[in-house]
């Protein structure tokens, strides 16, 4: 045991450093006024905490959480059945379908976003086949984009769990008289929860904090927390408020994750 146990110790300490130190710095930044990361001449200040209440920030947080929740739910409603269907495919084609699901992820995200923009603009390439929508700058456009990008992240973990499921459990329940619906609701779905939790996490988290996607598909019109934080860090050079907002959003997300995990038996974090 000793030999194997030792393999993870150095990693633990490196991670404490690489993860813990920045968090401490960010907490310090949140409650002081500094020039970027330069702490000389820093003063303790609760200003930023007060700023949090401003409508722009609360609306940005609300917008982000709402849009990513909707996108996550849609990803789940589409992803779960798809994952289920893939498990039913004959083994030799299963791999092919999985590759087809994952290969769009190898495509650069920014380019994919630009491609979606073409669909949403009134004048675009698609006019040649008679399509002219006017959806750029709407919430729907952002949601469609999010689903497109994050759907594979939902499908994969669910598929992995469903695929590994012990078929004999299903057979046994059918033998004991369960209807197809009952088999699903009482056996398959509960056993797949850990996959669902993974998928939800890998969809909700990045979509809630994304900035390039909502900025472009939302036509820059919709306030989202990812863009607000990015602007604070990059354009206004306000590392203090930026750090505070980042911590707030991380806490909110962690909180939401914990609630999900508690209900499903705490498997991931």
């Amino acid at each position: 045991m000793d030999y194997l146990q030792r393999l993870s110790k150095p990693y633990k300490w490196i991670m404490y450093l690489l993860v813990g130190v920045p968090i401490i710095i960010m907490i310090l930044l949140s409650f002081t006024s500094t020039l970027g990361v330069d702490f000389s001449g820093a003063e303790f200040s609760l200003d930023n905490l007060g700023r949090l209440n401003e409508p722009v920030y609360t609306q940005a947080i609300k917008n982000s959480l709402t849009l990513s929740s909707i996108a996550t739910i849609i990803c789940f409603l589409i992803g779960y059945p798809i994952a289920f269907m893939i498990t039913k495919i004959r083994d030799k084609y299963k791999w092919l379908i999985l590759v087809m699901v994952i290969s769009p992820m190898w495509s650069n995200m920014l380019l994919r976003i630009i491609a979606w923009e073409q669909l949403f603009k009134p004048n675009s390439l698609l006019n040649t086949i008679g399509i002219s929508l006017d959806l750029l700058g709407t919430r729907s456009a952002i949601i469609i984009g999010m689903v497109s990008i994050y759907l594979p992240f939902m499908i994969f973990p669910i598929f992995t769990v469903l695929d590994k499921m012990d078929k004999s459990l299903i057979e046994a329940s059918v033998d004991l008289g369960a209807t197809k619906t009952q088999v699903f609701t009482k056996i398959i779905f509960p056993l797949s929860i850990s996959g669902v939790a993974s998928g939800v996490m890998m969809t909700f988290l990045p979509s809630a904090t994304a900035f390039a996607l909502p900025e472009r598909l939302g036509g820059g019109r919709i306030l989202l927390i990812g863009n607000v934080i990015e602007n604070l860090f990059k354009r206004v050079y306000n590392y203090n408020l930026g750090s505070l907002l980042s911590i707030v959003i991380i806490l909110i997300i962690f909180g939401a994750m914990r609630i999900i995990n508690r209900q499903e038996g705490g498997l991931i974090i």
């Binding site: 722009v56 940005a60 004048n123 472009r216 036509g219 820059g220 354009r235 206004v236 050079y237 306000n238």
Partner: protein, 359 residues
């Protein structure tokens, strides 16, 4: 014995190879594709100096990279207000004019140089390119835009109700356009004036808040008018002309507007200030500058270079466009340059823009 002699041999080899690397390497931080690589290569050959150009897409990124000192850049090309900020924070060297031998008094275009002298950044920077912010429009709206200037961006009665208006997704530029329309100074911190500007922005429902994509959408017809940089306009103009497509759009800026300047500076952390001055000087040579201007396509800062372009028939389409250069020299034209006010001011501007976007 064998092992020792092998190690000794390797060490000697490495040391001798290190000695061979006498060529200095200098680092240049610039905007994306904002310099003619062939001119840079010529500089490298003429002076036996290695130049590595790194690209960023914003002044703030330049600031962060220079300040952090992770790479000790020798020449950086920021914009007006950022140069002022860097200078105030002690990040820049004052230029040693004696080392810039090709500099002559009066060689630069007054519209840009006078503004640089006024804000004191001429001590730290040599101008590189300049231009204005203004309105890009689809030709069918030319008359309205010519008559009202920035007004078309803030008064929705001037254009048809289904007109799609684009605003620059930058707090500084969007507020500046509003301030200019109201007749105020673009660098004002007066909260009453800023509130007025905010009211103008909030009132309008812009189809898109964008940056580089605004010019593309005007050309595509997805936007009817938009606030853009003169550089944006020329960028897309060249592409459309090269592809032989119709130019059904235009650009204008009013008599009171914002002038932007990008200029070369030398950070204090530079370890090759001698080479840095040589590099800057290289672009003051009229032939090199002309080659660079013909690649980048923006308005030249050296008067002689502009004169050469005017003589070249191939550039007629551009030099005859008033907004390339001549408009800025009309009687009564007033250009205002951005100044670095304070970080708090940027925060205020950013929140104005965010509130304007709220529904």
């Amino acid at each position: 014995m064998k092992k020792i002699s092998l190690i000794l041999f390797t060490v000697l080899l490495m040391v001798s190879l290190m000695g061979c690397q006498e060529k200095t390497t200098m680092y240049v931080l610039n905007w994306g594709d904002y310099i003619n690589e062939e001119v840079v290569e010529a500089f490298m050959e003429d002076n036996n100096i290695n130049v590595i150009v790194e690209e960023v897409d914003s002044n703030e990124a330049m600031y962060e990279k220079v300040r952090s000192g992770n790479t000790k850049y020798d020449v950086v090309v920021p914009s007006d207000y950022m140069i002022q900020r860097m200078a105030e924070e002690g990040l820049l060297n004052k230029l040693d004019r004696s080392r810039i031998v090709d500099y002559q008094e009066g060689m630069f275009e007054p519209a840009v140089y006078e503004l640089m002298e006024e804000s004191g950044i001429d001590e730290y920077a040599i101008p590189y390119f300049y231009g204005s912010i203004g309105i890009m429009y689809r030709n069918e709206y030319e008359d309205v835009v010519m008559e009202h200037g920035f007004g078309v961006l803030f008064d929705d009665s001037l254009l048809p109700s289904n007109a799609r208006i684009g605003m620059y997704n930058s707090s500084r530029d969007s507020v500046a356009a509003a301030l200019l329309h109201l007749g105020y100074d673009v660098n004002t911190t007066d909260s009453a004036k800023l509130s007025e500007a905010e009211a103008l922005l909030s009132n309008m429902d812009y189809a898109v808040w964008g940056d580089d994509n605004l010019k593309n959408e005007i050309v595509a017809g997805n936007l009817d008018v938009a606030l853009v940089y003169s550089g944006d306009y020329f960028d897309i103009l060249y592409i459309v002309m090269d592809e032989g497509r119709d130019v059904d759009f235009g650009y204008m800026t009013p008599m009171h507007t914002n002038i932007w300047v990008d200029a070369m500076v030398i950070p204090t952390l530079s370890e090759n200030t001698y080479q840095a001055h040589l590099f800057i000087n290289y672009f003051l040579n009229v032939d090199n500058a002309l080659e660079n201007v013909e690649y980048v396509g923006y308005t030249p800062v050296i008067t002689d270079v502009y004169e050469l372009m005017k003589e070249d028939e191939e550039w007629n389409d551009i030099t005859e466009n008033a907004y390339f250069r001549d408009f800025y020299y009309q009687e009564g034209f007033i250009g205002q340059m951005y100044k670095h006010v304070s970080l708090e001011h940027y925060q205020v501007l950013e929140e104005i823009m965010m509130r304007a976007k709220m529904d």
